[in-house]
Subunit: 357 residues, 2 copies
């Protein structure tokens, strides 16, 4: 906060609040905001209904509760801002998490303060994972890979994407995943695999279809995020080639990963591989994103990101090629930068696996 | 929009965007905003990666895409605001859904516009459900009730809250629930049931414990949200009495429900029942909330809400009594106001059910 010239932070429920405090709150229509001063005791604004949770706090807190009646909400914000002596100072907020709901209450309570982004200041803290965090992420990867193994026998002719997605989720929960998954699994058969953000449908698997699994588990708040490619019987030759090219791009990006290089170099390794094979225009997204308590967080593995990678940073590598109306392929691993290289937390085979033979 | 003096609406991904357009987008670190003018063609700002989805739109759209590179994002917002001629007019936003991320891009693109709440204007549209919506909600309730029935045999001595929560979720998905549940089920045993927002833990069920299920399913985006009380063997007498008092409060609130009364009258019916029994101070929350595409939406069933109920409005009734350190009870139904009365969509028995006898 000192380095970023932020005398205050104001955070609402989300992964940064969990990271900094260990406190879990719901994001709901009832605003919850924790105001951290650079020095002194933080102030927590929350509904009376949730006040029991403050007993979990491992640090001193000034608590300002409001009741169900709406007129009490602004009073709690005003009291908290006054107790924190915010005045006309800068208050760091997270633009991707704080809503207009909380912002307007904060603006009303601290009319002279300026609310500026604390995104990079908080990312600096969260990007380099410690040993305990990495152990949690490694296990999140194992849960996901084991759930995949348990689900594959159900991938047979005529099964729907939705049925496979339900089974996969059930298996992850049974294996210990938290219920708040990083995202709803993408199970995409045939031409649906050409949509990078496909939603499972009642489409039924046919022979020759590609089968894309993009899924992840939650281990005590830390996520995994993987993609693997299968097919039912042999798909057409070009689709097989596309999976092989994506596999080479994934390998190139994993192999170039190391401390001291910019995030853009990883994107470049994947992208030049796909471009050299003549499919550059069909690789329509960045190569990856940071991963941890959020499924998308810094560092972003993008061609314009010159951020230097450091040990403990964790991110996905997920190049893809998408042929509209025919099929697409993506192969995704979860990486961690080590002292002198990088390691994939995920080890499930990356080749196209032909099922039903 | 005309009635609310809102020449524009600017919505990001969420239930109102689905309700108004049928378009499903992810909320992610990449902003997506649809600007609706009172007249003319809406403008959609979105990442190029998601541009395929615009093909689903059943209406004309001007599309403004940006690329992975950050400097292209503000350009797309500026182009969209200019194409919409926003100028210095009022733009309605949803404070509980729009984030500071989207707000700052909108403010940058339309520096003279004022961004004001459209919450009530949109709620007016969404509150009264039509026949098709009610059929979807009724089935969401059936999925939840059937999943409960399938899960109850697993509620035995020594089972953990987490294990029951996993089974319940698996059963809902198998029965056709969408993967994005309204909330992670609250399964709370013994003293944990005294926390209205308990999170399932590895606590193991003991004889004499109360067992609280608070759960719901997703049927094509429409939610159910129920709570029922069980016990393993007989709990202590006061806890049995508490469940019975909550049952009476739930019944009173259901019976008073009708078109033409204010939401506060329903809260009052539940609250006076619990107060008359001497437990008023332990009923620490409102009696209920609207339900539909969101798990908490207007109308809120609160003592200070004078909003008049109308046919088609759907909401929960969920009085509770919480004895810290000992146990709590809540009994929750999903109601719809009919032409001359009200109906509960949920029919599972509301009495305390003693298991393991």
């Amino acid at each position: 906060m000192r380095d970023a010239n932020l005398p205050f932070l104001a955070l609402n429920p989300g992964s940064s609040l969990v990271y900094l405090t260990g406190l879990h709150f719901h994001m709901s229509e009832r605003p919850v905001v924790l105001i951290f001063p650079l020095e002194g005791v933080p102030s927590l604004i929350l509904p009376e209904l949730e006040s029991q949770k403050t007993a979990q706090a491992a640090f001193d807190l000034k608590v300002f509760t409001y009741k169900e009646s709406l007129e009490t909400w602004g009073v709690a914000f005003a009291d908290a801002c006054e107790a924190s002596s915010v005045g006309s100072q800068r208050v760091g907020v997270e633009p991707g998490t704080l809503r207009v709901l909380e912002l307007r209450f904060l603006e009303g309570a601290c009319p002279d303060a300026s609310f500026v982004t604390a995104e990079m200041a908080i990312a600096e803290l969260r990007m380099q994972k410690d040993t305990e965090e990495l152990a949690l992420m490694r296990h999140a990867t194992h849960i996901a890979e084991n759930a995949l193994r348990q689900t594959l026998p159900a991938v047979v002719e005529g099964v729907s994407e939705l049925a496979i997605a339900s089974k996969l989720v059930g298996n992850m929960l049974e294996l210990g995943s938290g219920g708040e998954l990083p995202f709803q699994p993408i199970i995409a058969f045939g031409a649906n695999s050409a949509n990078p953000h496909a939603v499972p449908s009642d489409y039924q698997l046919q022979r020759g279809d590609l089968v894309l699994f993009d899924w992840g588990a939650n281990n005590q708040g830390y996520f995994s995020d993987l993609t693997r490619m299968f097919s039912l019987g042999e798909p057409e030759t070009e689709l097989c080639n596309v999976v092989e090219i994506v596999h080479r791009a994934n390998t190139a990006a994993r192999e170039v990963s190391a401390p001291g290089i910019p995030a853009s170099a990883i994107d470049q390794a994947a992208r030049t591989t796909i471009e050299a094979a003549g499919y550059g225009e069909y690789f329509v997204h960045r190569t990856g994103h940071g991963l941890g308590l959020e499924v998308h967080e810094p560092p972003y593995i993008r061609s314009d990101n010159s951020e230097i990678l450091k040990p403990g940073m964790t991110y996905t590598i997920e190049p893809g090629i998408y042929l509209n109306g025919r099929g697409g392929a993506r192969i995704e691993d979860d990486m961690v930068i080590t002292a002198d290289a990088a390691e994939s937390l995920s080890t499930f085979p990356r080749e196209l696996t032909v099922l039903g033979q």
